[in-house]
């Protein structure tokens, strides 16, 4: 006969176990987010105090920004082109093909430019930051920095955080432009929409604030990628396996936070 274990509070054991696991994970998540906020506070504090490691910032700008250009360009171009193609299919049904330009430019500036750039940079540069700092942690290079009287947050985290925030802004701007060009190419050259109407509609229906909203999102996403990549790397434990976990964690958490912040920023910057 099958009998279920009933605990002291009257619930079956597996229910208690489920609540325990959920509770532990929730506490763990809240605690980690608290630690991230503390880490961000330290980073911001050191960002605005001397000495400034300008050379490190420039190096990181190259690694995070310049080296991400190919992946961002490919994503933006593809998205702009697909967007034009898909909108044409839908809009043609009620004779609104001329509005393709508006859809492409609004989507690229307000939403897809920053979000896709953010996700791509999180996957490329965020992972790289976590892996690099994680390796430095497990090989005691971060401790070595401290013993050499150099603040590791200031020396390692601040340049990555600053570079990630600034470069996400420019990469997103580039992504917006390339996406719109891709849309124009498909809309005008492939699908045969009138170029003058296409450009006129795009310009008339896209305001400067749309571009700014997208770029403000980019700054926030850049800060998210930088801080999460560095936090995960900085707090790596457990050798090679730990570095792997930190890298995966950095990409997953950054992407999730980008999508969460995207909603709230969209609601705020309506």
């Amino acid at each position: 006969m099958r009998c279920s274990v009933v605990s002291a509070n009257g619930f079956p054991g597996y229910i208690n176990s489920w609540f325990e696991t959920t509770g532990r994970k929730t506490f763990g998540f809240v605690k980690e987010m608290g630690n991230v906020v503390v880490f961000l506070w330290h980073t911001l504090r050191w960002t605005f105090s001397r000495p400034f490691y300008v050379k490190n910032v420039l190096k990181q700008m190259e690694q995070i920004g310049f080296n991400s250009i190919p992946v961002v360009l490919t994503t933006a171009l593809s998205t702009g082109m697909v967007l034009a193609l898909q909108s044409y299919t839908g809009f043609k049904r009620f004779g609104a093909e001329t509005l393709i330009g508006t859809v492409v430019s609004l989507s690229m500036t307000r939403e897809l430019g920053p979000v896709l750039t953010g996700l791509m940079v999180a996957g490329r540069a965020g992972a790289s930051m976590a892996a690099e700092l994680g390796t430095m942690r497990v090989t005691e290079q971060i401790d070595a920095l401290s013993t050499l009287a150099t603040n590791p947050v200031k020396y390692l985290v601040v340049p990555r955080f600053v570079a990630s925030t600034i470069m996400m802004f420019f990469l997103t701007a580039l992504g917006m432009i390339i996406g719109i060009i891709g849309g124009y190419f498909v809309g005008v050259k492939v699908l045969g929409t009138n170029p003058v109407t296409y450009i006129k509609n795009s310009i008339n229906n896209t305001e400067v604030t749309d571009i700014w909203y997208g770029l403000i999102k980019a700054l926030v996403f850049g800060a998210v990628v930088g801080i999460i990549g560095c936090y995960k790397g900085f707090n790596t434990v457990g050798g090679a396996e730990g570095v792997g976990k930190a890298t995966t964690g950095a990409v997953v958490v950054s992407c999730m936070l980008i999508l969460i912040f995207d909603y709230f920023l969209s609601a705020l910057l309506w």
Binding site: M136, E140, D143, A144, S146, L148, A149, N151
Partner: protein
């Protein structure tokens, strides 16, 4: 005069009580080695002396200053008195050998790169290395990495040098060469040194005094001769490397 004092130092990580009231004094110019098995708390103890970790209870005093009471700036100033050789050398992968050795000088002095490189070359010569300045750490052998790590530790003319398992992972001949180097540097520079190791040959060779750490407490402190002739069963078992005795393998 005491250079480093650990007074009733306790440290826990979660439920794990690693240091359970450690008392240890290292005199100025003395070479102290802390021995103990894996997981005995040696590394934790060493990290307390340079403020990489802070005690839950108790005090760490270096050169008359209580480490626990120092702010960020004070702690960094204090750390300039130290040089530390890490177990895996912990060289910065992205920097060349001379940039590694001159890292402290670059951060804390106004010397030009040319002068820093010259100083780095001098320190590298002191540890028996030449023509490696432009190599990357990945191009060096384990023994060479330790030497570069040692050159980095002495580059700022530190008063105290900490050695974390200086001979671990090295072949016996290279290990002995590192021991000779530690003894030689101490004679030349007159520094205070604290080493942690489980290599008894190394401990006997480089130490003025040896302290045995077991289960978070200092079991015995004495000169190498006193340690060799100890009657303490725990210390006896450890120095003879016997599997039979009060210490059980983990």
């Amino acid at each position: 005069m005491a250079m480093i004092e650990l007074l009733d130092v306790h440290k826990s990580f979660g439920d794990l009580h690693v240091l359970r009231g450690v008392n240890l004094t290292v005199e100025k110019g003395e070479s102290m080695t802390v021995i103990g098995g894996s997981g005995s708390g040696k590394s934790v103890l060493l990290k307390h002396t340079i403020g990489l970790l802070f005690p839950d209870k108790g005090r760490v005093i270096v050169d008359g200053q209580v480490l626990n009471d120092l702010d960020e700036f004070g702690l960094n100033e204090m750390r300039k008195k130290f040089g530390m050789l890490f177990q895996g050398a912990a060289l910065f992968d992205s920097l060349t050998v001379w940039e590694n050795v001159g890292f402290g000088l670059k951060q804390h002095t106004k010397l030009s790169d040319k002068e820093i490189r010259k100083k780095a070359t001098e320190k590298l010569a002191l540890v028996g290395l030449k023509d490696v300045e432009d190599k990357m750490p990945a191009d060096l052998s384990g023994g060479m990495k330790k030497r570069v790590g040692l050159a980095r530790a002495i580059a700022m003319d530190a008063a105290i040098i900490l050695y974390d398992e200086p001979t671990t992972g090295l072949d016996p001949i290279t290990a002995d060469a590192i021991n000779d180097l530690i003894v030689d540097l101490r004679k030349k520079l007159g520094v205070t040194s604290v080493a942690i190791t489980h290599d008894m040959q190394s401990a006997y060779k480089i130490s003025d005094r040896i302290a045995m750490l077991y289960k978070g407490e200092i079991q015995e402190i004495g000169t190498p001769e006193q340690i060799k002739s100890t009657t303490n069963p725990i210390v006896r078992q450890f120095i003879t490397g016997s599997a039979v005795g009060p210490i059980t393998a983990e």
